[in-house]
Symmetry: C2
Subunit: 139 residues, 2 copies
């Protein structure tokens, strides 16, 4: 039996990826994806970039530091994470050009539910990134 009101979160406020070289990662996310750094954490722990105009933040963390805990509960993972960024259908060609300009290879293009293809590529740490339209999900 649930006593508390029927609440649920209004969105994902923070999405995390782990990187080994924060400067290199920030250069990539700022220059290739056009995201804006809004915060950097002490001691090279990580940085925050804003994604879009809604309240959504991508956190780039150095796992070697976040794993030690301290003020924040420990977290940190080894391997390649996955994040998809939302684009509009008419922007697809511009994104192909952008990736090409920065010599970022498109690893794969996959079509979901008859939508424009989702573009898969890697950040400098090998995290699997995707550019996708929202309509690939039955929301």
């Amino acid at each position: 039996m649930q006593i508390s009101p029927k609440i649920s979160p209004h969105g994902v406020l923070e999405t995390s990826l782990y990187v080994s070289d924060l400067t290199r990662a920030l250069t990539f996310y700022e220059n290739v994806l056009g995201l804006k750094k809004i915060d950097a954490f002490p001691a090279g722990r990580g940085a925050a970039v804003q994604v879009g105009s809604g309240p959504s933040v991508l956190l780039l963390f150095c796992a070697a530091i976040t794993l030690t805990g301290g003020t924040f509960p420990e977290h940190g993972a080894e391997g390649h994470g996955h994040v998809a960024f939302r684009i509009e259908p008419e922007e697809l060609e511009a994104w192909r050009s952008r990736l090409r300009e920065h010599s970022v290879p498109i690893e794969r293009e996959l079509v979901f539910r008859g939508n424009p293809p989702s573009l898969y590529f890697r950040d400098p740490d090998g995290n699997s990134l995707e550019l996708s339209v929202a309509a690939i999900w039955p929301l």
Copy 2:
């Protein structure tokens, strides 16, 4: 020199966490967080839950399967990820009750920029989750 138009993603469409037991994870995200499953992937690869009313999806992946690649570019990580979910200030007490009802301990409460505290807790795989108001970030 950047030739392509000044575009950037409109938001994070997919945020990923890795879990070892998909059924257990889904029970947690549905019952404790009140999120709705919108898709399940073949062969126990993972599932998708919708977060909020905007286009935002949390993907729960079994890394043992995603690491093998196949149709999708490989990804998968070992360790504890971090995701923050957006709540409204007036919902904080209801969330404390909800977590208590489900015997989910609050690991820490941290105050950022004078806002209501962010609540930190763990999912059954030890991923570090947070419930936070948007105003903790200078967006």
